[in-house]
């Protein structure tokens, strides 16, 4: 019994079909509990008023936007090293989800920034890094669409993902060098184990983050299944066309 067994599409689809109902249910519960608790069950911040509540959308979306790219990076590496098709298709499936998360983070940030910073957009390092991340997602998806041969497309996008990761990290630090920030520091600094958010805000945020993570997982499994079936359909159609 090893993880690589699930590189077999049949096994993968079987497992994903069994797991998905639970994942969807857990994601729905966590997201709705997190958001309801966050929106209605927490006090207003004494300086930010009710605008603080957008954090329950903004932070989890931003978290998943970065982690989605990271997952694509791992999946691309697995494809390049072990040539498992499921892995390449999972990376393909994750990209639009990650891009949506990036857009949610950017849009909610702008909505929050307008009353708080007095501007929809500032060329702050974090905002700019996210915009660059958005461009990387866009390029990645466009490359998938542009190449006809699926294996070549998987190869090319995998390398793009690797190179893009290096440049995304580089851009992050370059951007910080270029302009000092307006954005506040991280809400949940994992490295130090500390916390810059009070407990009342933190627990609903945590639930919401877990919910977004589960939602991402469920969406990726679902979309990967779709991609696998799409490829099977194409193979069937090609066979029919050849026989006829």
């Amino acid at each position: 019994m090893s993880l690589w067994e699930y590189a077999n599409p049949v096994k993968f689809l079987g497992l994903s079909a069994r797991v998905q109902p639970y994942l969807w249910a857990a994601a729905a519960i966590c997201v709705s509990v997190g958001l309801t608790w966050g929106f209605f069950g927490t006090p207003e911040d004494f300086r930010q008023g009710s605008t603080v509540k957008i954090i329950y959308l903004h932070v989890p979306a931003a978290l998943m936007a970065i982690n989605a790219w990271f997952m694509m990076l791992v999946a691309s590496l697995i494809w390049l090293i072990r040539r498992h098709h499921v892995s390449a298709l999972a990376a393909k499936a994750a990209a639009p989800v990650g891009m949506t998360m990036t857009v949610i983070a950017l849009v909610t940030g702008a909505i929050w920034g307008q009353p708080m910073w007095g501007t929809w957009w500032a060329w702050d390092p974090r905002l700019t890094s996210f915009l660059i991340l958005f461009l990387f997602y866009l390029g990645y998806i466009a490359l998938w669409e542009a190449v006809d041969d699926p294996d070549t497309a998987a190869d090319l996008t995998s390398v793009l993902c690797l190179v893009g990761s290096v440049f995304a990290v580089l851009s992050r630090y370059a951007v910080r060098f270029w302009n000092q920030g307006l954005h506040q520091g991280t809400s949940v600094p994992v490295a130090t184990g500390g916390r810059t958010v009070a407990d009342v805000f933190f627990y609903p945020l945590l639930v919401s983050m877990i919910g977004f993570g589960l939602l991402f997982l469920a969406l990726v499994l679902y979309r990967t299944g779709t991609e696998i079936r799409l490829r099977r359909t194409r193979a069937l159609l090609a066979r029919q066309g050849r026989d006829a």
Binding site: G139, A142, L156, V159, L160, G164, S171
Partner: protein, 218 residues
């Protein structure tokens, strides 16, 4: 390698193959800037380093799809891929010839255009050195983009979409050197970081470019 370099340079110079095209584009962009922002000389002086860097970057980008596309169409790339010379080396030479025909003329033309944009006198040395250090990185990264999209029909726009985000760090540090130089601040840190990016991309990107080119040619 030298034969390949000579061939590429000769093609660029003789057959109307893009030599001077990037330069002309750079010239026109820079001349258009005062029309769009107005002729106030202090404003032009402030934005001159950024405008010159952006112009140089776009001029590099413009000439990228000629870098491999013609060789791909007539089969030269297939020969290069099977030649005893490693594909990594061949692509490095391609990037070098792209830099010699596009980057180097831009570096040489930049001071003249700097005068037209009223760049501060202290900025000229730093503008030229930042372009000289930074444009090789643009060529090498661009070669990767060209290799990535060479098999795609009408891939020019896609290549811009893929390459432009990769240009961000180079542009930031390059324009920072020129800006700080023009304002009389110390630009050495940015210049060293820019040099670091250039060295790293020259060392590593040919491997990525050759890898994707092999995938396309397979």
């Amino acid at each position: 390698m030298i034969a390949l370099l000579r061939r590429d340079l000769m093609l660029a110079f003789r057959a109307g193959g893009g030599f001077g095209l990037g330069l002309a584009f750079f010239l026109i962009v820079t001349i258009l800037v005062p029309f769009s922002v107005g002729p106030q000389s202090d404003l032009l002086g402030t934005i001159a380093p950024g405008v010159l860097w952006l112009g140089a970057l776009l001029a590099c980008l413009l000439s990228l799809d000629r870098l491999l596309a013609l060789d791909f169409e007539d089969g030269t790339l297939d020969l290069l891929a099977t030649a005893p010379l490693p594909l990594e080396a061949a692509l490095s030479v391609k990037a070098l010839s792209h830099w010699l025909t596009t980057g180097l003329p831009l570096v040489l033309a930049a001071p003249v255009l700097g005068v037209m944009l009223n760049l501060a006198p202290s900025g000229f040395v730093w503008l030229v050195s930042s372009l000289a250090v930074g444009t090789p990185a643009l060529s090498v990264i661009g070669t990767f983009g060209a290799a990535l999209t060479v098999g795609i029909k009408r891939g020019g726009l896609l290549m811009s979409l893929l390459v432009l985000p990769l240009y961000v760090p180079t542009l930031i540090f390059g324009a920072e050197v020129a800006r700080r130089g023009a304002q009389g601040l110390d630009p050495v840190t940015s210049l060293l970081l820019l040099g670091g990016i250039t060295c790293a991309t020259i060392a590593l990107m040919p491997f990525a470019s050759a890898a994707v080119l092999r995938m396309t040619l397979r």
